[in-house]
Symmetry: C2
Subunit: 361 residues, 2 copies
């Protein structure tokens, strides 16, 4: 078993990474817990609900299972209320514990429920998608969507533990694996050039879910995310670099309608665009841009952006939560393994859009 430690002002906790970790979930429940609710969705419950329930029953505590509908469309207040209803009907008190069993949607909603039920109870993350294992379960961002914007209502709230079972990736659709790998290579690009090179060399093993390669990729991703988050829990500065590729990516997701491309696919393509913008404004070498494009392609993500119309592109990028006082800023790479946050001339942005967007005929 690998363990990575996360330390933030809001809490310090272990990330356990191992094959079969679901069987040992009881180890992550605090000793003074009074009851446990597994929060999951229908799809994940069908695969792993019973296994998680049996493992948690070893604590001797009452365990209930709260099954949410599956999908980003349900990441909203109504779904959150399903959790509150179940907790109150079952008289869950302040010492009860939630366990998020699922992808980023379940993790974000369950985390926000934990942050706000009785002003905060403890929760454990048991992420079951690659994206959730390397990204959303670590760092304490929780949220639901609002009709006027994604993740607009939420909290910074850390789990008491993250339990990653690498075995569960075997039931995940390949497209979701590719999307998760986009976030993996993102860490290499913004902070660890060696890890990026390692990903280039091991991309076939990763796509084949080869256990040793996958475990290392997850561990290194968690370490790098933990490093960033421990220095800036609330995204007042450094943490913004984790959004590399995301301003372009969000525009794609919103422009095509959320769910058309997976988040990771949009980020993959967005990283290629951000690399081009880095070349245009910071002198990132064309060789490096090629490496980014080639690896995004090799993990199975698109590298050519959809044609949303130039004005619409700019507009959609402006809605991004990272905008401040209306100014458009980007995470850019002076070189692979290093990221900076800065505003760019409109002309450079236009040129990059011209170059990376596939004109629709």
């Amino acid at each position: 078993m690998s363990t990575v430690r996360v330390s933030t002002p809001g809490g310090s906790y272990p990330i356990h990474i191992e094959a079969g970790r679901l069987e040992r979930l009881a180890d992550s429940i605090p000793h003074d817990a009074t009851a446990i609710a597994i929060v999951t969705n229908r799809t994940v419950a069908a695969h792993y609900g019973e296994r998680a329930r049996r493992a948690l029953a070893q604590t001797g505590l009452r365990v209930i299972l709260i099954e949410l509908p599956d999908g980003e469309a349900y990441k909203d207040w109504q779904t959150l209320n399903l959790i509150f209803d179940a907790l109150l009907q079952n008289r869950f008190d302040r010492r009860s514990v939630l366990l998020a069993l699922g992808g980023g949607v379940v993790g974000d909603v369950c985390g926000f429920a934990a942050a706000t039920y009785m002003r905060g109870i403890r929760f454990v993350q048991a992420p079951t998608t690659l994206l959730a294992q390397v990204d959303s379960s670590v760092g304490g961002k929780t949220a639901v969507n609002h009709p006027l914007g994604k993740n607009m209502v939420g909290a910074f709230y850390q789990p008491v533990a993250v339990d990653i079972d690498t075995d569960v990736l075997n039931t995940l659709p390949p497209r979701e694996i590719s999307a998760g790998l986009a976030e993996v290579i993102k860490y290499g690009l913004i902070i660890d050039a060696e890890f990026f090179a390692w990903c280039e060399q091991n991309v076939a093993a990763l796509r084949a879910l080869e256990p040793a390669a996958m475990t290392y990729a997850i561990r290194r991703s968690c370490e790098l995310k933990a490093l960033v988050v421990s220095q800036d829990e609330r995204e007042t500065g450094l943490r913004a670099i984790l959004n590399f590729g995301h301003t372009f990516g969000h525009a794609i997701e919103a422009g095509l309608g959320f769910g058309t491309w997976l988040h990771g696919e949009a980020v993959g393509c967005g990283m290629v665009q951000a690399a081009e913008l880095s070349a245009a404004t910071l002198g990132l070498s064309s060789d490096s841009v090629d490496r980014v494009r080639n690896l995004v392609e090799a993990i199975g993500c698109p590298t050519q952006a959809p044609d949303l119309g130039a004005a619409r592109w700019i507009d959609l990028m402006q809605v991004d939560k990272k905008t401040e006082a209306g100014q458009l800023r980007f995470i850019l790479l002076p070189r692979i393994g290093q990221a900076v946050f800065q505003s760019v001339p409109a002309a450079a942005l236009q040129a990059v859009l011209g170059k990376t967007v596939v004109p629709s005929l």
Copy 2:
């Protein structure tokens, strides 16, 4: 002007207390703010909305006013969403600031909106009821109600400043003044016997809103609450003493239907009951019990509890959020000025209910 400082792990901030403070609200807005939303309700807006807007316009920032419906019945998710809608429609970003102008309902809802909009933006409390000035605006508890329980969804989230204008109490109905005074004398009872004696001596001046007396009572209350909260922001121990009288009080509020008695009225009566229970179990002198009853009466709150039926009384007290693993515990006074938290024999509780409840004929 009096200033009291609150220091908690979640934030350190000043409480400014002075007549006419509303005119100087601009002083409490952080220098890097990008926009301000005044969150208030219809009643308060009619009295003070324009004055607050003019004062905040001195910052040179955009100021919008969000007017909520008035009443505890609106302390819910729908009302919270009115705030999110307005903030998103007006493109408020992470550096925008909310100002809660109103009583405890506005403060709790606005505080929770600030805690969760974009995972947390800054907010200022400008409490306009006595209860909000001496209690709810200080300490960072925010919440909305759920159909299955009051304040069940919320967050611990500290304001950046509290601005108390003692002048606004002049438009407050006398019943609300009495209810607020119940929380004032509560601080004396649990932590400061001298302050309790001062309240006994100055009760006429307080009820007449005599400025010097009122300013002192507010300041001392804020100091005492700040003292408790700074030692236990998240109510894991000591902070529970602030609930003196509240287990009985909540049963009255819920039993009669919320709003029949004001919260402070129910707490006033609940403190008399808790004093009786302290006499029965901890030997609080009958002289002290009389002093509690006399002062609760003198501030204009009821001292005799309604007849809800003995079984219903116990049932309602058990629903209280302070219950843990089903055990009924009370804040009790060994003497005036000191509080402890402990469980009591059922027989003692029955006896006190028999003594303090007015049988309906």
